[in-house]
């Protein structure tokens, strides 16, 4: 059921759909990049960018609450945890 409400922030539906398709393609490209990058540190940076892309995806699909969670966890906390783990394991290898 669609509710036709026009606010100052209403955008044309074609524009919204184009935006959604663009972001979906970007997310697919980002996920592929994360898998294909082999060096762990670079991979973590790519994962962080991918987290931001996912956050934008949730935003254009009208889930701002999930956007906030994904931004904080996917783009910030998860990369920090992974980077610290990498730092620890690298020290042990030396």
């Amino acid at each position: 059921m669609t509710v036709a409400v026009s606010t100052p922030y209403t955008v044309p539906i074609e524009f919204m759909e184009a935006l959604q398709v663009t972001v979906l393609v970007l997310v697919a490209a980002g996920a592929t990049a994360v898998v294909l990058i082999r060096r762990p540190v670079h991979q973590v940076i790519a994962l962080s960018v991918y987290g931001i892309l996912l956050a934008v995806l949730f935003l254009v699909f009208q889930a701002p609450d999930v956007t906030l969670s994904e931004l904080t966890v996917g783009a910030v906390v998860l990369p920090i945890v992974l980077l610290l783990t990498l730092a620890k394991t690298r020290k042990r290898e030396e």
Binding site: D65, L68, S69, V76, V77, I80, L84, K88, K91
Partner: protein, 253 residues
């Protein structure tokens, strides 16, 4: 297992997975066609029942508050698990943090990083508390706000030293805050049982104006405790990992 056998096992598994995925995808409702009744019902009654314009928060902290208790304890247990796994083991020794700071040969943190971290720490604390305290009015809430509060502490580490980070967030205090956050949520629910209502019933006055900060009854209160719990849990997890990376070495003291 030889590599060709492994490939066959992989291919069989992949074909099965793809078949199940396609089967599931074909059964999905069309894009934008939500079939269930609950979303429409909630959209119609949530604002009237709770006076909270953040309908998502109203669902998270009120209608399905019981699930959110469970989710919160997932994080609680995860933080406890990290603490236990990353404790100092037999055969490991802990370097003195002070000595480490004095003669470490790591390159010093660049001024740009220090400056950026200093500039953002204050605004992040404000933003974290704002998100935590406005669950009832917009799609924020204790989870998002709590994580942002925790990142403010991580910036303290980036701007300064591990020791400064530890001084700002001593483990005993972080542990206590996490326990208060988790316990507070459960206590709000039990208080409802105490006055003869179902667990986690929203029993506080909902406020006069929909969308006001004072509206929503127990929703902002629960969001506050969730914020405490989440912030403390993430600070604990990062602190344990930092300690493991910077201080703990193999070999006995």
């Amino acid at each position: 297992m030889t590599s060709s056998q492994r490939r066959w096992v992989f291919l069989a598994g992949m074909i099965g997975l793809v078949a199940f995925l396609l089967w599931g995808l074909l059964g999905l409702p069309g894009f934008g066609h939500y079939p269930g009744p609950y979303g429409s019902i909630i959209n119609r009654i949530a604002l009237r029942q709770t006076n909270a314009t953040g309908t998502v928060s109203a669902i998270n902290f009120d209608y399905r508050g019981f699930d959110t208790v469970g989710e919160e304890f997932i994080l609680f247990v995860a933080a406890a698990g990290v603490s236990i796994v990353l404790r100092r083991l037999r055969g490991e020794r802990e370097k003195s943090a002070i000595d480490e700071a004095a003669d470490r040969n790591a390159p010093p943190t660049s001024d740009a990083v220090r400056m950026a971290a200093l500039v953002f720490t204050g605004p992040l604390v404000v933003m974290g508390w704002w998100l935590t305290s406005h669950a009832q009015t917009n799609p924020s809430g204790g989870f998002q706000g709590g994580v942002i509060l925790a990142t403010a502490f991580i910036l303290v580490y980036l701007a300064g030293e591990f020791l400064v980070f530890k001084r700002f967030s001593p483990v005993a205090l972080t542990d206590a805050v996490e326990a208060i956050g988790a316990g507070g949520f459960v206590a709000i629910g039990l208080a409802a049982v105490g006055i003869g209502l179902a667990y986690l019933t929203n029993y506080l006055p909902k406020g006069e104006v929909a969308g006001a900060v004072s509206s929503g009854g127990t929703i902002p209160l629960i969001s506050f405790f969730v914020g405490l719990e989440v912030a403390a849990a993430f600070i604990l997890i990062v602190a344990e990992l930092l300690e493991q990376t910077l201080l703990i070495r193999q070999g006995s003291a």
